[in-house]
């Protein structure tokens, strides 16, 4: 495990320099990464077909001017984050290196509160009951088994089966029995004549 950590530590020294703040003589190299993608899709729409109240407003508007932060603010935030990191480093050194018995003592002193913190205030559990379970169960029971399988798929399968059943029934008319065909022709002719007579009688 040591070697990967060493590699990451070395890389973290290098990586930090890429986005070094302007107040320290650096600049952000990544924030304009996607800009050219939008530039391809804007010019012709904006310049050639531009009309007042056009459906697609010029995309450039969304970009806005580059946010300018003052030197002091930048240094302040840098200072805060460096301080937070150092604080963590010092605390870790105290708890796990200088006085390893201290964490247990603190845990005892805090009692129930310690367990709540240990379990991240039970946010995960709460989240699971409130969101995860309803979404997963709802998706499975209502959307997948309910809508997808029982409504959409069942309708399609039934209509395919229905077509087959109707054909299965109708094919018995094709019996090859000439007398039965003659019978159907006679019955059909009788029905047509009856209809015409009835229509004529009205």
């Amino acid at each position: 495990m040591l070697v990967p950590l060493v590699i990451l530590a070395v890389l973290s020294i290098v990586g930090g320099w890429i986005g070094i703040p302007g107040s320290m003589g650096g600049s952000n190299h990544f924030d304009k990464f996607l800009a050219p993608v939008f530039h391809t899709s804007t010019p012709s729409l904006n310049t050639q077909h531009a009309t007042p109240g056009e459906v697609a407003p010029p995309e450039k508007q969304t970009e806005g001017p580059e946010p300018q932060t003052s030197r002091a603010t930048e240094l302040l935030f840098t200072g805060i984050s460096v301080f937070a990191a150092l604080l963590g480093f010092v605390m870790a050194a105290i708890f796990y290196y200088l006085r390893p018995e201290l964490p247990d003592e603190i845990a005892h002193a805090l009692g129930g509160f310690y367990h709540a913190v240990l379990n991240k205030y039970y946010v995960d559990e709460l989240y699971s009951i409130l969101f995860v379970k309803p979404v997963v169960d709802g998706s499975r029971r209502i959307l997948w088994h309910g809508v997808d399988q029982s409504v959409i798929d069942a309708t399609l399968d039934d209509s395919a089966d229905g077509a087959r059943h109707i054909s299965d029934t109708l094919r018995h008319m094709q019996s090859g029995n000439i007398r039965s065909y003659a019978g159907w022709v006679a019955a059909g002719a009788a029905a047509v004549i009856a209809y015409m007579v009835w229509m004529g009688a009205r």
């Binding site: 990464f33 993608v37 391809t40 899709s41 729409l45 077909h49 056009e54 697609a56 979404v135 809508v147």
Partner: protein, 499 residues
């Protein structure tokens, strides 16, 4: 000079080389290895030739390039008319890029009726390319239906479990839907005497087709249904999970639907597209969210990927019907990105299937220990599929959402939730399959990727990365095509304002 000579026949070559390969394959002796190598060579040849297209494309120029237009059948007036713009060109290259990988990934998993498999795969490639390059409605319909036959046979012959059910379902679904498109095409031919896309488009735009305004709503729906089933758009999607679980390789098929919407629904019926955009966008949003939620609870890895496709293709439809350049650029980019990432996901799932003969997520767990390289590549593709910045999924979805947001803020907001859902189902699946302790003893000894599998997967991973960091290579060619597709819409808008 050879470049120019090649340009005039390049589309014909790329389209029919796979078919010619399939025909030659009939005469290759029935030795499995020879058949595989031959198919690989043919599909690679098609890919190498297709690279000619983006290299020599006039990027600044809108309209179709590499055109061929010769009379084919005098009565009815059918032309052999092919050509590509930036959109269809990249879809073509996607097809030729994925086919050799399909050949490689099926190297070992197919060991029965090997020759039939590769013949069908090559025929499918020709038909798919044909769909993207056809500019004659009859030719287009011919290729469109031609994809059905090899695809249905592939599902039915080489699927698993309920493969015949899946094949018949796939066939009926898409065939019935295509009949509506055929009716619409025939109506257009009856009124214009031409199957030619550009001719009909010009006649329609200048209002020179008799009865067009009355018929247009029906024609629009006729085309739309055929494409919506193929995409597949909710509620026409239930063939996909069945078909994709059974299909040994699933590739570019779905993009036929979204490409069709872009080219024909928007191209021929701009007014109707505008009028129907509302409910279509709603269906697309339902597809995005519903597909993701159902994907979340799938116990079967391949079904999960299939439902995730429904979600991703919802983005494409949403982008197309936003009628903004960003939306259409993004839609096209999502098509390409989804082809690469989902193609890779299917291959990855297939690799696991080869080893364990199951796709059930519960059968796995802790696979990162026995298969570290596989796990790393899988994670990379999962991240690209869920739209991590710097990988290909992000660019397209971001553009689509910004386009959708511009068309209607609510669409953008709802669509954006789809990104979150895709992270949920993909990462949860990944966690259950790869993290933790090995839960089934049989998985302990699973071999990691061999050389052939690495060679198959590396190109997709590389493509996912390159598309993510240098999207302009693709968008430079897509954008002019998108602008010309949108020209009637901006004119409509100025007409509205001009009144």
């Amino acid at each position: 000079m050879t470049g120019e000579g090649l340009s005039s026949i390049i589309l014909t070559l790329v389209t029919f080389i796979p078919l010619a390969g399939a025909a030659l394959l009939l005469f290759v002796p029935n030795r499995e290895r020879d058949i595989r190598v031959f198919s690989l060579v043919i599909s690679l040849l098609a890919f190498v030739l297709s690279v000619h297209l983006p290299v020599h494309l006039q990027r600044a120029q809108a309209g179709f390039q590499y055109e061929v237009n010769v009379p084919w059948i005098p009565t009815p007036n059918i032309h052999y008319h092919m050509g590509v713009d930036g959109i269809s060109m990249w879809l073509l290259v996607l097809t030729t890029f994925l086919t050799p990988l399909c050949v490689l990934i099926s190297w070992k998993s197919i060991h029965e009726r090997v020759k039939e498999f590769f013949i069908l795969l090559l025929i499918l490639e020709t038909a798919l390319i044909g769909v993207f390059v056809s500019l004659d409605l009859f030719l287009f319909y011919f290729f469109w239906e031609a994809t059905l036959i090899p695809m249905a046979l592939l599902i039915g012959m080489f699927g698993h479990g309920r493969r015949v059910y899946a094949a018949v379902k796939f066939f009926l679904y898409t065939m019935i839907a295509s009949a509506f498109m055929l009716a619409a095409i025939l109506w257009l031919y009856a009124k214009t005497g031409s199957f030619d896309f550009t001719t009909i488009q010009n006649l329609a735009r200048t209002g020179n087709i008799e009865g067009f305004t009355l018929a247009a709503p029906w024609l629009f729906v006729g085309f739309f249904i055929a494409f919506a089933v193929k995409v597949p758009l909710f509620p026409f999607h239930t063939w996909l999970p069945d078909a994709h679980v059974e299909a040994p390789t699933a590739g570019v098929l779905l993009k036929m639907g979204t490409y069709g919407m872009l080219r024909f629904n928007l191209g021929l019926f701009p007014d109707q597209s505008r009028a129907n955009a509302g409910w279509i966008s709603v269906l697309a949003l339902i597809g995005i969210i519903y597909g993701a939620l159902v994907a979340l609870v799938q116990p079967n890895m391949k079904k999960l990927i299939a439902y995730s496709s429904i979600s991703h293709l919802g983005f494409v439809v949403l982008g197309i019907f936003s009628f903004t350049p960003a939306g259409l650029d993004g839609a096209t980019f999502v098509m390409l990105a989804h082809g690469v990432s989902t193609g890779a996901l299917f291959m990855l799932a297939g690799i696991l299937y080869e080893r364990r003969h199951t796709y059930e997520i519960s059968e796995f767990g802790g696979l990162a220990t026995p298969m570290p390289v596989y796990a790393a590549l899988f994670l990379f593709i999962v991240l690209s599929s869920l739209g991590l910045p710097l990988l290909n999924g992000f660019i397209g979805e971001f553009l689509v959402l910004s386009g959708a947001f511009r068309a209607r803020a609510l669409y953008g907001i709802l669509g954006a939730t789809g990104v979150i859902w895709s992270a949920c189902y993909l990462l949860w699946m990944y966690q259950r399959v790869f993290f933790g302790k090995v839960t089934h003893a049989v998985n302990q000894e699973l071999p990691d990727l061999d050389l052939r599998e690495r060679i198959t997967l590396w190109p997709t991973a590389a493509a996912a990365l390159v598309m993510g960091v240098a999207p302009l290579v693709w968008l430079n060619a897509i954008d002019p095509a998108v602008q010309s597709a949108l020209a009637p819409f901006t004119q409509m808008a100025s007409k509205l304002v001009g009144k």
